[in-house]
């Protein structure tokens, strides 16, 4: 058991102890944790990321939901302790299935088990990874001239160059990207381009964008997994690599950018660990749609709702985003990254990205 795991077990024990003591003293068990909604997101100027504010949600055993959550908490903590003791790990999905045997503490959906894992992080101040719980989703693909070492199953550090030593699909980011597993060495790649869609990632690879501009491409696969965000964060802060985010031009893509740059609302308790505050948004912006006269789709009702919701999201409360969101609402249009192909397959690498990146001072 490492010190980190030791610490995690102790902190989790305290949570259970508190529930137990309430009952021993004849009180109604309660738990308090930060309210996890956009109303309770505050900017932390020291770390330049968004974290939870002071609003607290109380969970009480007076309600069925509250009481059930506490029972689940106790069961989950027990499960985590057992895993750590026996040096095993499990996916969140496996935990969801294991909970079948927890009587009334069983999870009714995987969402519930995911949420509870995050609750435990918030209450214990530890990380899910410390609990030996790993997410189901695999991490991103990486391509570019950059060398790192990764611990193999046999306990050896293997050196990997993310351009030379990998196939077409690139280097796959593991779920544990901490130093004990992944260490950076460096290479010709000077900056990171985080790309939302696989199609665009492959286009940039095929067009030789990495080599030509010394870029490290990271495929986000939609909403980036925690390990992907942590990976980018470490590259950015440890290797000083500037980071840009290149997504579709729609409200959901804006949120992808926000989760990388500002921190996600659900994981605001570990924003300083996951977020890359200096990451910049390349596009597609609403202005790109106009300036490059891109093919568009109409905004759906859901899209409009998402944009409006972003207007009341404190993370988007700056001049750039308010004007971008407003512009998109006004034109009622959205566009995809691959719409740039309107001007040919090379347009994105020959014209669009060089233009935008030069303006941003990256190239």
């Amino acid at each position: 058991m490492t010190e980190r795991h030791d610490n995690a077990v102790n902190n989790l024990k305290e949570i259970v102890d508190s529930i137990y003591n309430h009952m021993r003293l004849g009180e109604i068990p309660t738990m308090e944790l930060s309210t996890r909604s956009k109303k309770n997101i505050e900017f932390d100027p020291k770390k330049s990321v968004w974290t939870y504010g002071d609003m607290k949600t109380q969970r009480t055993a007076k309600t069925v939901t509250g009481a059930t959550m506490m029972l689940r908490t106790a069961c989950t903590v027990q499960f985590i302790e057992d895993m750590i003791k026996s040096n095993k790990s499990s996916t969140l999905r496996e935990m969801y299935y294991i909970s079948e045997g927890w009587g009334h503490g069983k999870f009714n959906s995987q969402d519930e088990s995911n949420l509870l894992a995050e609750d435990l992080e918030i209450m214990s101040g530890c990380m899910r990874e410390d609990f030996k719980l790993r997410p189901e989703e695999d991490g991103a693909r990486v391509m570019g001239d950059f060398t790192l070492t990764e611990m193999t199953k046999k306990g050896e550090r293997r050196k990997i160059n993310c351009l030379e030593d990998v196939g077409e699909s690139g280097y796959g980011v593991p779920y544990n990207v901490e130093k004990e597993n992944v260490q950076f060495q460096g290479g010709n790649a000077k900056f990171i381009v985080a790309v939302e869609t696989g199609g665009m990632f492959d286009r940039l690879v095929e067009n030789g964008f990495c080599e030509e501009h010394n870029a490290l491409l990271v495929h986000l696969k939609g909403q980036p997994a925690r390990s992907t965000r942590r990976f980018i964060k470490r590259l950015n802060s440890e290797m000083g690599m500037p980071t840009v985010v290149f997504t579709d031009g729609d409200p959901w893509s804006f949120r992808i950018y926000a989760s990388i740059a500002y921190g996600a609302i659900k994981t605001a308790h570990i924003s300083d660990y996951l977020a890359t505050p200096t990451a910049q948004f390349v596009g597609i912006t609403a202005s790109d749609i106009l300036n490059y006269d891109l093919p568009t789709d109409s905004l759906s009702d859901k899209d409009i709702g998402a944009l409006n919701s972003e207007l009341s999201d404190p993370r988007f409360r700056d001049e750039f985003w308010i004007s971008e969101i407003q512009a998109m609402l006004d034109m009622k249009k959205k566009s995809e990254q691959q719409a740039l192909a309107k001007y040919g397959l090379d347009f994105v690498t020959d014209t669009y990205l060089p233009e935008k990146l030069t303006n941003m001072g990256i190239l």
Partner: protein, 670 residues
């Protein structure tokens, strides 16, 4: 055409008309007035026949104090021809009278009696037989047997001579009716169309069974499928008495007729003896006001005199009509009947039926009864079903024109837990509403007697009864909601918390904590949970009583049980205190310690066992706010005869803090 010509033509035209008039027979009259008599459509003709015969059978049985056993068979022959059989176990008809009862229109004693009966609602069984004669050319076969040493039954074929309105009898013969004490059987052929659905014979018989729980009705349909509506109770409805007319609302023509036919020698005696509720003092008052001499002969009264008398009646205070001429079904039997017939739908709730005190309209006493059935498998989508009854006879046609439908539509059902667009119209939801109007004379919209006339007095009474019953429904729905709430808490303290205590203790290697104090803080109520274990005719009822408060509690529990259904188990329960002659029972719970619980149990057996609803339980001697599962004892509990209890201002017991909503609005970005 000039006026001279007209005069010239007048005589021959009259002659021609006169000759034609001779030819207008009863057949023709019947043919022309089919819709008035209810034979206007083929499907309705079949129903009308069954209705006449069944109504007669039930009336006759009631009169003779016999529990009715009615058999109906509809057999499809060829084309639209049907053979209909209706048999009862009534008192039977003496042979001499059979031809007249079945073979003569408008023959009978009921037309002159002022009392509640079913049979006043149709043209009579003879019309059915005549319609059969006319449409198929075949006679009706009638058989009847009366009780007595002379155990011979008589059968005969009857055809109605439409010219003379006289029966033609053939094949008259005595026979031995094996296994029959007494009764009547009619078999006739008729044209018609057999339908299923809302206006079907099946529906008619089913609804008849609901309001006549003392009757057993067997029905064999054209597909030879047999349906039996078993008898739900052996209690006969109370017999209604004949009364003299009440002077209120009397019409002048009727009064004039009475002055001619009366046996009384003087006007004063006429008023006192031929009317109900007219005392010597009232008669004198009336006569004084009109200036008519008390000793005048009634037959000598002029039309003006009669008008004066009617005017005077309006100015004199006369007691409301007596009500023993009415035979309401009563709340218990309405519930019983509904349960018996509708239990296949497993309704969740039978609202205690409401029987209103009798009122009078136009001198005719009437009363209104309402029952509501809710939930279970009753379809929730669509409008509620309204079952309409007049003098225990189902009304299947012309719902839209009926005072009952109007009264239902006028109630704002949203207040009573049903959906209704704009608070008007027939409500929506999983409910069946039964309305029964009983009267010595039911006022119908037309001769077809299919819809009750919208007289303000009647519609208003129906409305009041509906609202009272609706309140019962609402209170049930509120109770249910509260109970669901409580059940959630019960799950916390009974299941989740003990698991939590065990789990945490195990994890921390510490002793399992005692939860009593925590539990009492979460609940802070005395909890009464009813349980039912039903086996056929035996229902075991238990009340589990938990004290989830922090003090010792003593209180009394009350419920009204069907007296005839209790057995010794009631009295042997240690909590039992007393039962009065209304079946109101009290149990005492003494010094119930915090976290302790106790159980009250008893059995109900027999016919009336299922009438009791275990949720109808009350408490006294404790602050009702800390009790869940029972209502405070109504203030009129001890007062006999008042059945309607309203507890509208129920306080929500104990605090209910809902968990702060843990909605994560923007969680989608991870």
């Amino acid at each position: 055409m000039g006026s001279d010509e007209k005069k010239r033509m007048a005589v021959p035209t009259a002659n021609i008309l006169a000759s034609k008039q001779k030819e207008i027979s009863i057949t023709e009259f019947f043919e022309k007035n089919k819709q008035i008599l209810g034979f206007d459509s083929k499907s309705k003709s079949l129903l009308m026949g069954v209705k006449e015969a069944v109504d007669n059978a039930l009336d006759a049985c009631e009169e003779a104090d016999i529990l009715p056993d009615v058999f109906v068979r509809v057999e499809r022959l060829e084309d639209d021809e049907y053979r209909m059989v209706i048999e009862d176990n009534g008192p039977g008809i003496v042979k001499k009278m059979m031809p007249n009862v079945f073979g003569r229109l408008l023959y009978g004693s009921r037309f002159h009696a002022l009392r509640q009966s079913r049979g006043q609602q149709g043209i009579g069984i003879s019309a059915t037989i005549m319609f059969g004669n006319i449409s198929t050319g075949k006679p009706a076969r009638v058989q009847s047997k009366i009780e007595g040493e002379d155990s011979v039954a008589w059968g005969m074929d009857i055809v109605i001579d439409t010219k003379t309105n006289r029966p033609i009898v053939t094949n008259e013969e005595p026979f031995t009716w094996e296994g029959k004490g007494s009764g009547t059987r009619i078999e006739y052929y008729t044209k018609g169309r057999y339908i299923t659905g809302k206006q079907s014979i099946f529906e008619y018989l089913k609804n008849t069974a609901i309001v006549n729980p003392h009757a057993k009705i067997t029905f064999v349909d054209p597909d030879n499928k047999t349906f039996v509506f078993e008898r739900a109770t052996d209690t006969m409805p109370e017999k209604s008495k004949e009364i003299k007319p009440h002077p209120e609302g009397l019409e002048i023509g009727e009064l004039q007729k009475m002055t001619q036919s009366t046996q009384q020698k003087t006007v004063r005696a006429f008023l006192i003896n031929d009317f109900s509720r007219v005392t010597a003092r009232i008669a004198d008052e009336i006569l004084k006001e009109t200036g008519i001499k008390p000793d005048r002969k009634p037959s000598g009264l002029s039309r003006d005199d009669c008008r004066d008398i009617i005017k005077a009646i309006g100015n004199v205070k006369i007691m409301a009509p007596q009500t023993d001429c009415l035979s309401p079904i009563g709340d218990t039997l309405i519930k019983k009947g509904l349960m018996h017939v509708l239990d296949g739908m497993r309704p969740e709730y039978y609202a205690p039926p409401v029987t209103r005190a009798p009122k009078a309209v136009n001198g005719n006493p009437f009363t209104v009864e309402v029952g509501i059935v809710y939930g279970g498998d009753i379809p929730a989508e669509g409008q509620v079903t309204i079952l309409r009854f007049a003098n225990r006879v189902p009304l299947l046609y012309q719902a839209g024109a009926c005072a009952i439908t109007k009264a239902v539509s006028d109630v704002d059902w949203r207040r009573y837990g049903l959906e209704q667009r704009g608070g008007k119209g027939v409500p929506f939801g999983p409910a069946i509403i039964l309305v029964h109007v009983a009267s010595t004379k039911v006022f119908f919209t037309s001769e077809g007697k299919e819809a009750i006339a919208d007289l303000p007095e009647i519609t208003e009474e129906i409305g009041l009864a509906l609202k009272l019953c609706g309140r019962n429904l609402k209170s049930h729905l509120r109770k249910r909601e509260r109970r669901e709430h409580t059940r959630a808490k019960f799950e916390i303290v009974q299941v989740i918390l003990p698991e939590l205590a065990k789990k945490t203790a195990e994890f921390l290697s510490k002793p399992v904590p005692d939860l009593d104090l925590t539990i009492s803080k979460i609940m802070n109520v005395v909890w009464i949970e009813p349980g039912v274990d039903a086996k056929k005719k035996l229902r075991k009822i238990t009340y589990s009583v938990f004290n989830y408060t922090r003090s010792e509690r003593s209180f009394r529990i009350h419920a009204q049980l069907p007296k005839e259904a209790v057995n010794l188990t009631l009295f042997s329960d240690s909590h039992f205190v007393e039962m009065n002659d209304e079946g109101k029972v009290a149990w005492d719970v003494k010094d119930l310690a915090p976290a302790a619980h106790t159980t009250i149990s008893f059995e109900l057996t027999g016919d009336m066992a299922d009438v009791f609803s275990p949720d109808d339980v009350y408490i006294s001697g404790i602050n009702p706010v800390i009790v869940m599962g029972a209502d405070p004892l109504p203030g009129d509990w001890g007062i006999k005869g008042i059945e309607v209890t309203e507890i509208d201002s129920e306080e929500e017991p104990v605090e209910e803090e809902e968990e702060e909503e843990e909605t994560q609005e923007v969680l989608e970005d991870d």
